[in-house]
Symmetry: C2
Subunit: 151 residues, 2 copies
DNA sequence: CAGGCTATTGCAACCTGTTGCAGTAGCAAG
DNA sequence: CTTGCTACTGCAACAGGTTGCAATAGCCTG
């Protein structure tokens, strides 16, 4: 389907980036990378694991999670935590962004630039704190649910 | 040590609040409440469980977590998630607040009013979204670590 | 004080991740 | 192609939480 050589965008040269760092390119890592390349946006750890198992039923959890750690060091994915604290991975770090989660209806949205800037700016100006936006999940109640519940 | 009747501040009338709602006051719940009354600030779920076990070695995890759910419905505690996604409970909801966590040095701070307002305000104005601040943990790098690492 | 309704408990199994360790297998060098 | 270093893998056990279910026990009523 998608041989390593023809992986899209940021994934094209992964194999070599691994090797240059003294890391090894294994079938298991290839599976994880292929799954990620076929994913856009977000995935939970569990979902990712399950997709890897679709390709290779032998896939072991610890291997997947450890591979994700390595990919994060290389800057190819970033992890955050959903509203329930579960891990969530962001693919294509191009647009770093956080999430907004409605505790009532369960919908999620990406945090848009103006609000993102408000957050990052507030902490930067006041504390010199550099916010890692991709790690942020803001929980609350969306306009629709607030209206329905008669906030 | 601390008979139910003499529990401090918001805990004094818990027993009756339970009963009015058709909920039951059990020894297990009493243990959890007593532990919470002796706690200020934050606790992780695991820490809470362990303190309950100090009082009653028979304490079962699911009972503690379910009791916490009930107490949250009553507004006596609120839960959020630490930087690693683990549960964290805030006691005395008086001052609802989120947390700032430095991924480098592991320190945490409470989010202060100006930044809190910036966050809440940004989402409220733009989206009509009501942020649950107590559920927010903002991860990033504090000024000291950013300086040390040479930004 | 006894009886009955049903909210809770305790248990056991499961879910998402993490960790230590011994054996396996990439990969670079010869 | 063989060798050897050591980065990975797979496993098994653990940690923090959650869930379904049968049995227990609060609490209201008479």
């Amino acid at each position: 389907m998608s041989p390593v050589e023809s992986l899209p965008e940021p994934w094209a040269g992964v194999r070599d980036r691994f090797r240059h760092r003294g890391l090894r390119w294994t079938p298991q890592r290839r599976t994880v990378v292929e799954v990620l390349a076929a994913t856009d946006g977000h995935v939970t750890g569990a979902e990712l694991l399950s997709r890897c198992r679709d390709r290779d039923p032998q896939t072991i959890p610890s291997t997947v999670y450890r591979t994700l750690d390595v990919l994060e060091e290389l800057g190819l994915v970033r992890h955050g935590h959903g509203a329930d604290g579960r891990e969530e991975f962001h693919v294509s770090p191009g647009a770093e962004h956080g999430h907004l989660y409605c505790a009532d209806c369960g919908q999620t949205w990406e945090i848009r630039a103006p609000q993102a800037d408000a957050i990052v700016g507030a902490f930067w100006k006041a504390d010199g704190f550099e916010v890692d936006l991709s790690h942020v999940t803001v929980v609350g109640r969306c306009a629709d649910c607030a209206g329905a519940a008669g906030g």
